[in-house]
């Protein structure tokens, strides 16, 4: 076992996603260590010729490749080697980005229901959300959509039974032990608790179209009305 690696890390598993992509699963449970391990492997990996996009997710990362130029088994070896050699880093110590959020009211119509489902008051839920330093665990689902977590266990709610047909851009919502922010208007099944006015996606920035990336840390700051 490589130095520094924790004994309780899950064994990496490779799964084919069609003949032109491989998914490396580094765990089945969503937690901060696995999420950091995913990012560390993604950064440490030296991609062979013929490999293309790398998509880090919550507990896995996928590598797309050109099967005419690179064999899946060669890429598989590289991925497993990178997983074995990568040391899981400590949580980042960089800047924490403050995100102003208007909680409750028209902007967060589900706040009261979330509070009642958790057996707390709305202000306790807001205080808990603003008290946390959240890690961006993945960007996915929509352009620039950050999966923020982990939330405390008591705030872990299943998705709404009836998804909403349209959440406005900036919607801050909770589900599955995570918080998310919808950068563009979209249907959505998470509990809508607030609105954040910071733009999170810019299609005219080809270098970094998403304001946040996995590994960034953010803090919600409750806005005054």
């Amino acid at each position: 076992m490589a130095r520094g690696q924790r004994a309780d890390l899950a064994l990496p598993r490779l799964r084919p996603l069609g003949e032109a992509a491989l998914t490396l699963e580094l765990g089945e449970r969503l937690d901060a260590v696995t999420s950091r391990r995913v990012r560390a492997v993604a950064q440490a990996m030296r991609l062979p010729a013929g490999a293309g996009e790398v998509v880090p997710a919550l507990t896995s990362l996928s590598v797309f490749f050109d099967p005419e130029r690179l064999s899946g088994s060669e890429l598989a070896d590289r991925l497993l080697l990178a997983a074995a050699r990568t040391v899981v880093p400590d949580p980042g110590r960089g800047d924490v980005l403050d995100l102003p959020v208007f909680f409750g009211g028209e902007e967060g119509p589900d706040l009261a229901a979330v509070a009642s489902a958790c057996g707390r008051s709305s202000s306790e839920v807001v205080a808990a959300l603003c008290d946390l330093e959240l890690e961006v665990m993945m960007i996915g689902f929509l352009p620039g959509f950050p999966y923020l977590g982990p939330l405390p266990d008591w705030l872990n709610l299943p998705r709404r039974a009836e998804p909403r047909l349209r959440l406005p851009a900036g919607s801050v919502a909770l589900a599955g032990g995570l918080a998310g922010i919808y950068p563009v208007a979209s249907p959505g099944g998470w509990h809508l608790v607030g609105r954040c006015a910071v733009p999170l996606f810019d299609a005219n920035d080809p270098v970094r179209p998403a304001r946040l990336q996995a590994g960034d840390r953010v803090r919600f700051v409750a806005g005054d009305r």
Binding site: G18, G52, E53, V54, F201
Partner: protein, 338 residues
């Protein structure tokens, strides 16, 4: 420049798609059927992934504001001009004079309308493909004006040769759609996997550019529910939703998903997926990665051969007066729109 006169169904600008941005949550988008896009572009001498209009349903009516050369694959059309009506059969190129109108019939599956030189509509993150879900443009509407690359400078491309797909050449492929098992095939009981392969599936009306919902026997994961921790998905991946029914993801699919993926349609058969419509039936057959790669290479060679086989059409036969076209473009200066 062209103007959309009517768009009763779904039509949008699509090219080879947006690559390199999945990790920012940006879908691939692009043509549902890259083979039709490639053929339509080849007919007007464009590179294979040049932006064109994809018509998914309902047909499309447009007017040429400048003389232009176009090709249509996957649907028929009628051209209405000063000299009357003329039909445009699927799989060939033709020319329009300024003010000619083109009425594209509703396609059986998906149609592709390519313009010599390509469309010059806005590009985001390296692609002109519309991804309405992401806020990158929207489908076509009556009144839209779409610029052509040929509007600026290279008016000469409108006077290229006309070509047609040879009789008998078809993109249609019979037989089951080939899939590679996984990533989560092992979450399903062997009987469930076998049922997935044995079933005849029907495409439900819940079909759009994001995916096709199928109906057939219930396929349940061995351990109760089909939720997984969200991971990357890709066009062709087949999710099993909570009700045990498959959803086959297409070009506009989100970048990550939380349903178990029982299998993934191989690259060679992705264009076939893009041509499926509600009510169509289909089956799946499992292959391994080596077979998938061999089928991909074989299909690519077949397409390259098909493009070489495009036959030239005599301009006279198409009722086009090249000299008139030439005057319009280079003497009247019509190509410089507004």
């Amino acid at each position: 420049m062209i103007e959309v006169l009517a768009c009763p169904g779904l039509a949008s600008v699509q090219d080879g798609g947006r690559s390199g941005y999945r990790r920012f949550g940006v879908s691939v988008a692009g043509a549902l059927d890259h083979e039709s896009l490639m053929l339509a572009n080849a007919l007007v001498g464009n590179p294979p992934a040049t932006a064109a209009i994809e018509v998914c349903s309902g047909g499309l009516r447009l007017r040429a504001l400048t003389a232009l050369r176009l090709a249509l694959v996957g649907a028929t059309a009628v051209i209405v001009g000063r000299s009357g009506h003329r039909p445009l059969v699927a799989g060939c190129s033709t020319s329009l004079l300024a003010d000619d109108e083109l009425a594209v019939d509703a396609p059986q599956a998906v149609a592709c309308l390519a313009f010599a030189g390509g469309l010059a509509t806005p590009s985001w993150l390296g692609s002109r493909s519309i991804d309405a879900r992401a806020g990158l443009g929207r489908p076509l509407c009556a009144g839209d004006r779409l610029p052509l690359a040929a509007d600026e400078g290279d008016g000469g491309v409108v006077i290229g040769p006309h070509r047609a797909v040879p009789a008998g050449l078809t993109l249609h492929v019979d037989g089951p759609l080939r899939v590679l098992a996984g990533p989560q095939q092992r979450r399903f009981h062997p009987h469930g996997w076998q049922a997935f392969l044995d079933a005849t599936w029907r495409v439900t009306p819940a079909a759009d550019r994001m995916g096709l919902r199928l109906s057939g026997p219930v396929v349940k994961p061995a351990c109760g529910n089909s939720d997984i921790v969200s991971q990357a998905v890709t066009p062709g991946a087949i999710q099993i939703a909570g009700d045990g029914q498959p959803i086959v993801l297409l070009a506009d699919a989100q970048t990550t998903g939380g349903y178990a993926l029982i299998a993934t349609v191989i690259g060679a058969d992705l264009p076939r997926l893009g041509r499926l419509r509600p009510g169509d039936t289909l089956r799946f057959a499992a292959v391994d990665a080596d077979v998938a790669r061999a089928l991909w290479c074989a299909r690519r060679s077949w397409l390259a051969h098909a493009v070489k086989e495009l036959r030239p059409l005599p301009a006279e036969g198409e009722g086009i007066d090249i000299a008139a076209l030439y005057r319009h473009n280079l003497i009247d200066g019509v190509t410089r729109a507004e």
